[in-house]
Symmetry: C2
Subunit: 300 residues, 2 copies
């Protein structure tokens, strides 16, 4: 089975109580694709500028990711993000954003990708997500991410998208904003009424809630002592989840629940270092080992 | 096995988006004892004033709680609390507190209670908790609750208490305040270094973390759609947990983990109505049924 992800690649600068990382590889698509590649081959559609260092591509070639859909655009600059984490690593400020090439035309989808069965529309505006979705007419499962900005500025377009996708991934405050429900179980049920067959509400260090047409589940996060850089936690979570769904071709309630457990494990490793540093050395056996620990933790 | 709880009984007034409750039975010891009584007989040491309505005692007699240690003090007034929940039910303001009889001498512990094996010291100042603890010299397991006020004003006394108890129950912000660690796994480990064999960090709607000398576990809360009044959630959680530990006489890591799952279930019912209304009609079979649902939710 084939998994495709569309999203951003960025040059990130991160300041944290645990240290700093200057101009490192980042972006939602990068974290997602690296995480998913532990489970299945990943196709990537994304665009960078001509300033994107070759070393980034070398790093990325370590992962099982097809880069045919990665455009390096002459005359353009790569997306840049500067963020600072507080002493409490759950809070961060965005100090600077340069959209650069992300504000230009979307990268083309290679013809060879158009038969993709599993599609993840990483966070971007819902019109763009809808346009991308239409290029995978034979998809079996399409899942979108979104954020507060689009809920506030393009809600109608987002609601139209929700009628077309099978799943939605978003965080708890976004789910509350989208539905006006402060109870996230109620918010999750309301999102199902808007179209998707399932929604995964991410709660960061508090885990995730799955509402599926066939059931509901809540899983905690892995209780991580080593948190160096939370950047990409949500994207690597979604990547691990979609990678496992694709590998197993199982998007039943039970299948997605297990996929969420895998996503939780990959995210728990990702936050142990800056950028892709931890995922670059991570082995599938380590993921499976931690999953066993997690499973035992939840048995009583 | 015998479980004893010492703590407050109050006349509560609760304002919530879901409705209001005026002058209803409340207090940490009440919620704890009612919750624990689904699993084992409970001994209660607490004091009320002469204004405490007889109807409160009638309500309480429905539960398997020994009231020999409940003093009704002539000339004194019962503790009163007025609280208001925000639209987001996880936030509340305390509008009024009248300590009344709680500011007077502690109620005496009946001689017949002094052989209690399981002891829960509900939230009060640590000097008072230490004095109470000394009255159960043959206890097998003593667990204390605490709060930010004592961490800030009587930290030395609290640290002395932590060397004498087997377990501590507190919420995440309190654990962070006590240890200065923002990562709650680190905070939990540091609390173990302060003396207790285990600590349970409560995260409200996000579940609980158990750090035990023999292991660590995180469990989510039960994803509750019906939340009418969160008052007493933490106390009923602790009551269910201690009740199950007492009934099974098992305070191993695995035993406490299962006890936390039971505490989670009782708390999830308690918040479905004001005061003890839901626990008054709750059956043990309902608790066990929801535990089965919860267990399946956590299997993948």
């Amino acid at each position: 089975m084939s998994l495709i992800v569309t999203g951003s690649i960025g040059i990130d600068t991160v300041q944290a109580p645990t240290g700093n990382a200057d101009e490192v590889l980042g972006g939602s698509a990068i974290y997602f694709a690296a995480a998913a590649s532990f489970f299945c081959p990943v196709r990537l559609v994304a665009v960078v500028g001509e300033d994107c260092p070759d070393s980034f591509m070398e790093t990325f070639k370590q992962f099982n990711v097809d880069l045919e859909g990665l455009e390096k655009r002459a005359g353009s600059k790569t997306f840049r993000w500067v963020g600072k984490y507080h002493e409490n690593m759950n809070q961060r400020d965005t100090l600077e954003v340069q959209l650069n090439v992300l504000a230009e035309a979307a990268p083309p989808v290679p013809e060879s990708y158009k038969d993709s069965k599993y599609v993840f529309l990483a966070n971007t505006d819902p019109v763009n997500q809808m346009n991308l979705l239409k290029q995978f007419p034979t998809n079996e499962l399409a899942v979108a991410d979104t954020m507060d900005l689009w809920i506030e500025t393009q809600k109608d377009e987002l609601l139209a998208l929700l009628k077309e996708v099978d799943g939605l991934v978003l965080n708890d405050s976004e789910a509350q904003l989208l539905t006006g429900k402060s109870n996230i179980v109620e918010a999750a049920e309301e999102i199902i009424d808007l179209g998707p067959r399932f929604v995964v509400i991410k709660k960061g260090e508090h885990g995730a809630l799955l509402q599926h047409i066939d059931g509901r589940a809540a899983l905690p996060a892995y209780p991580a002592k080593k948190v160096v850089d939370p950047t990409g936690a949500g994207d690597s979570f979604a990547g691990g989840m979609m990678g496992y769904i694709t590998a197993t071709d199982d998007h039943s309630f039970a299948g997605i629940k297990k996929a969420i457990a895998y996503g939780t494990m990959v995210a728990s490793y990702n936050i142990e270092d800056f950028s892709l540093n931890r995922m670059s050395t991570l082995k599938r056996e380590e993921i499976d080992h931690r999953l066993d620990v997690f499973r035992q933790m939840l048995q009583f």
